[in-house]
């Protein structure tokens, strides 16, 4: 299946892979410790500090590597949580119909009617801001979007004759959800997962920038922007480095997601 990958998807796959590799092996790759002050304030790039130093003299490259690890970990965990929860509920609602569907859908509408950033800010201002709490809050909020998508996809599949054939055979709900519907709904869901992952990266970065995400001295990309934003006034580009990292990660994941979506839609025989 890897023979016919378009060049854009290859680039996307390469950079996504690279970011994840760096995130996983951060402690072995970073030249200095995460919170170690090793130089002067806002030193320019040099052979000792490839990206210079930050607002209190820590090595920016090391901060970036550790920050990427935190950001990507939180985003991945939140995406997995939102997908498991959202798609299970979405498929269930589509197959059950009736009051189950109504109850879940209206509850989701209720949550969605509140802008998610504001909702998150309110919740995080009363809860202790730790990484598990961040993941749960982000995952729960995002699962409403996933629910909408998976329900829409599953409702379409649920009226196919093969689902009716399974019903007439006497199959239970779990067979219908996991064996008949899920395999056919998987491709659009996986493509959506790529997009949702990027939203999660942006979301956690936003929260950190606003001071309600990852707490100092822990590093994450949004936090690094926040710490170094004052430098921009003096022409110091430290705050732009994490912004660049977020942008490239977003583009490369989207390239992969695009490719997955294309594969699904071109598989005409696949979804009938």
């Amino acid at each position: 299946m890897f023979k016919n990958i378009p060049i854009s998807a290859l680039i996307g796959l390469f950079f996504t892979g690279l970011y994840f590799f760096i995130a996983i092996f951060a402690p072995w790759l970073a030249p200095y410790g995460m919170a170690e002050a090793v130089g002067d304030v806002w030193e320019p790039a040099s052979s000792k500090h490839w990206l210079g130093t930050d607002s209190i003299g820590r090595d920016l490259l090391s901060r970036m590597i550790y920050g990427g690890r935190t950001t990507i970990f939180i985003a991945t965990a939140a995406t997995i949580l939102s997908f498991t929860l959202g798609s299970c509920l979405g498929l269930l609602a589509a197959v059950m119909g009736g009051w189950v569907d109504q109850a879940i859908s209206r509850f989701v509408d209720l949550i969605m009617s509140i802008p998610s950033l504001i909702f998150a800010l309110v919740v995080l201002s009363v809860m202790p801001v730790t990484i598990p709490v961040l993941i749960v809050v982000m995952g729960l909020l995002d699962s409403t979007r996933v629910y909408r998508l998976s329900r829409a996809v599953a409702v379409d599949i649920n009226v196919m004759d093969y689902v009716e054939a399974a019903t007439l055979r006497g199959e239970g709900k779990s067979w219908i959800i996991f064996r008949e519907i899920l395999p056919n709904a998987l491709s659009p869901l996986v493509a959506e997962m790529g997009l949702r992952f990027i939203f999660a990266v942006l979301f956690v970065s936003t929260l950190s920038f606003l001071g309600l995400g990852v707490q100092p001295p822990g590093a994450d990309w949004g936090g690094i922007v926040k710490e170094n934003k004052d430098g921009i006034v003096y022409g110091i580009p430290a705050a732009l480095v994490p912004a660049f990292a977020i942008a490239t990660l977003a583009i490369s994941v989207n390239l992969v997601a695009d490719w997955v979506l294309n594969r699904t839609t071109s598989l005409k025989g696949g979804r009938g």
């Binding site: 023979k3 016919n4 004759d161 054939a165 007439l168 006497g170 056919n184 025989g269 979804r271």
Partner: protein, 544 residues
């Protein structure tokens, strides 16, 4: 002889294909076809799906549908080779000299614009007529095509007229600019038989009166025999036989043409009814949220090992009857006895044994199989589910079933997308058989298939009935199919059974008006059949 209006020489057509796991590449779909058409004559193009008939038809407009490319040959219209000119020349040709009637009028009309606006559009934009003249012409055509209220029907929207009427509006659309050539692409295929005949008669008359030439594309030889002067038989992009209609129908030369002409000649001995295995009693049903009954007091019996055919046009309630029997739609009144016990009205409360003994085969085999499951899983699941078969035992039984449907066990690991239409339907039959049912409901199982393939499926079903002693409830709108396989027949019309009995009883006179209409509407492979029927029948179709 004067110069022909349309002359096609060595036409070659290619298409780009994008298979999911190989590089996109080009294939040839038409391999050099020659024909010509004189003014005022009709040429029928006939073949099964994939024969390239629509593609050839569209080439007369210099057009190739998505990815299709006219790669070689010449298409002369009115003394010009239209493949040589640019898009400007083609634009002058399309909608003025050559027009097109699509298969599905319902999908081809713009639902947001009134019919008249769409009918006169080409004439006006091509500068052939002024708007007022074009409208006057359209009204004349509406009248000629037998549309009700020809002066006002143009101010309706497409959804406000019936399917048969819309197809005639589309014919008016094509004839309005006074073209020299009209391409009819399966104009009656999507219609009920009783509606088809009216549309067919209207088209034939319009062609005769306006003196226009036509290419008539269809897969139904009996239909094309009524309207054409010449017929060209196509198979896989090659010409098989080309000649006057009389010769093709009465004296075909090629094997393939002979097969097409003799299709549906299955002989089936009628069995006498015995103690019924299923009897539906006084079924009345309506859909949730609606205020009228779709089934009124329907009672039918099916004898073990025999076939009951339920016939009727779309909307007659025949598929609803199947939904009631399977329990997907609990009836408002009445009950169903099956194998000596009374079935519960709703499917979820039925026992596994009831579910197993009552299987169903669908019209569209494409969507009746999960595209992500292999043939082995599709057929194997009922074995696992009803008989708890596993491993080697299951695999052996699957191979046996594949053998029974005349496919080898090499298909066991294939996905539905890798099968042909006929093979897909066979796998669906195997899935139903796997449950060892006493009754199989067949819902229009052959209507989406090409005639020769459909024939194969019917023969298989009859064979299986003999071997497995299974009964069929066979829902269809096609009387030729009914003749081929039924033991008893129920004719349905607007939710009621209007005629019911053994095949010989139902198909012998005296007929009630509806059965007469239905029987006489089935196109026969005889010249002059259409005129005869129109002259002698008693009742207008419901589509009017």
């Amino acid at each position: 002889m004067s110069d022909p209006l349309l002359k096609v020489r060595g036409l070659k057509i290619g298409a780009a294909v994008y298979p999911p796991d190989a590089k996109p590449h080009k294939i040839k779909i038409v391999h050099g076809v020659d024909f010509e058409l004189q003014k005022g004559k009709v040429l029928g193009l006939i073949g099964e799906s994939g024969a390239g008939k629509s593609t050839i038809g569209l080439s007369a407009l210099g057009y190739g549908r998505g990815g299709v490319e006219l790669t070689g040959g010449e298409v002369w219209v009115n003394g010009r080779d239209i493949l040589q000119g640019g898009i400007r020349d083609l634009r002058k040709l399309r909608g003025a000299e050559v027009t097109y009637v699509a298969q599905s009028a319902a999908a081809s009309f713009n639902p947001a614009k009134k019919i008249m606006d769409q009918v006169v559009e080409a004439s006006v934009s091509q500068g052939k007529f002024s708007r007022a003249d074009a409208e006057a012409k359209a009204r004349l055509l509406f009248d000629k095509l037998g549309l009700p209220d020809p002066d006002n029907i143009g101010s309706r929207y497409p959804h406000q007229v019936s399917g048969g009427q819309l197809q005639r509006c589309m014919t008016a659309l094509a004839l309005c600019p006074e073209p020299d050539l009209v391409v009819f692409d399966e104009p009656t295929t999507a219609l009920d038989v009783t509606t088809q005949i009216d549309v067919l008669a209207a088209i034939k008359e319009a062609i005769r009166d306006t003196g226009v030439a036509a290419l008539y594309i269809t897969h139904d030889l009996a239909v094309v025999a009524q309207v054409s002067d010449d017929i060209m038989v196509l198979k896989m992009g090659n010409m098989v036989e080309y000649g006057p209609v009389d010769q093709i129908i009465n004296n075909p030369q090629e094997e393939y043409t002979k097969a097409l002409v003799s299709v549906r000649s299955i002989n089936h001995e009628e069995k006498t009814p015995t103690q019924p295995i299923l009897s539906a009693k006084n079924i009345t049903a309506r859909y949730k949220g609606t205020k009228f009954d779709v089934l009124h007091d329907v009672s039918v019996d099916i004898s073990p090992g025999q076939t009951l055919a339920v016939v009727g046009e779309s909307g007659s309630g025949k598929s609803t009857l199947a939904r009631v029997i399977t329990g997907l739609l609990p009836p408002k009144g009445g009950s169903t006895d099956f194998a000596g016990r009374t079935l519960t009205p709703d499917q979820p409360s039925r026992s596994r044994e009831d579910l197993r003994e009552l299987q169903m085969i669908y019209q569209m085999a494409d969507v009746a199989m999960n595209p992500r499951q292999t043939v082995g899983t599709i057929i194997g699941r009922p074995l696992e589910f009803y008989f708890s078969m596993k491993g080697e035992e299951k695999r052996k039984r699957i191979a046996e079933l594949l053998e029974e449907i005349e496919m080898g066990d090499g298909f066991i690991d294939r996905y539905p997308a890798e099968l042909s239409g006929g093979q897909k339907q066979r796998v669906c039959i195997a899935r139903a058989l796997a449950a060892k049912p006493k009754l199989i409901i067949c819902d229009e199982v052959t209507s989406a298939l090409d005639p020769l393939v459909a024939d194969g499926i019917l023969k298989l079903l009859l064979d299986l009935q003999k071997r497995e002693d299974v009964a069929y409830l066979f829902i269809t709108h096609d009387l030729a199919t009914v003749r081929a396989i039924a033991d008893s027949i129920a004719v349905m019309y607007q939710g009621r059974v209007v005629r019911y009995g053994t095949k010989s009883e139902v198909l012998s006179p005296p007929f009630d008006d509806y059965t007469d209409l239905l029987l006489s509407s089935v196109p026969e492979m005889k010249l002059g059949w259409l005129e005869n029927v129109i002259a002698t029948r008693k009742m207008e179709s419901a589509g009017n």
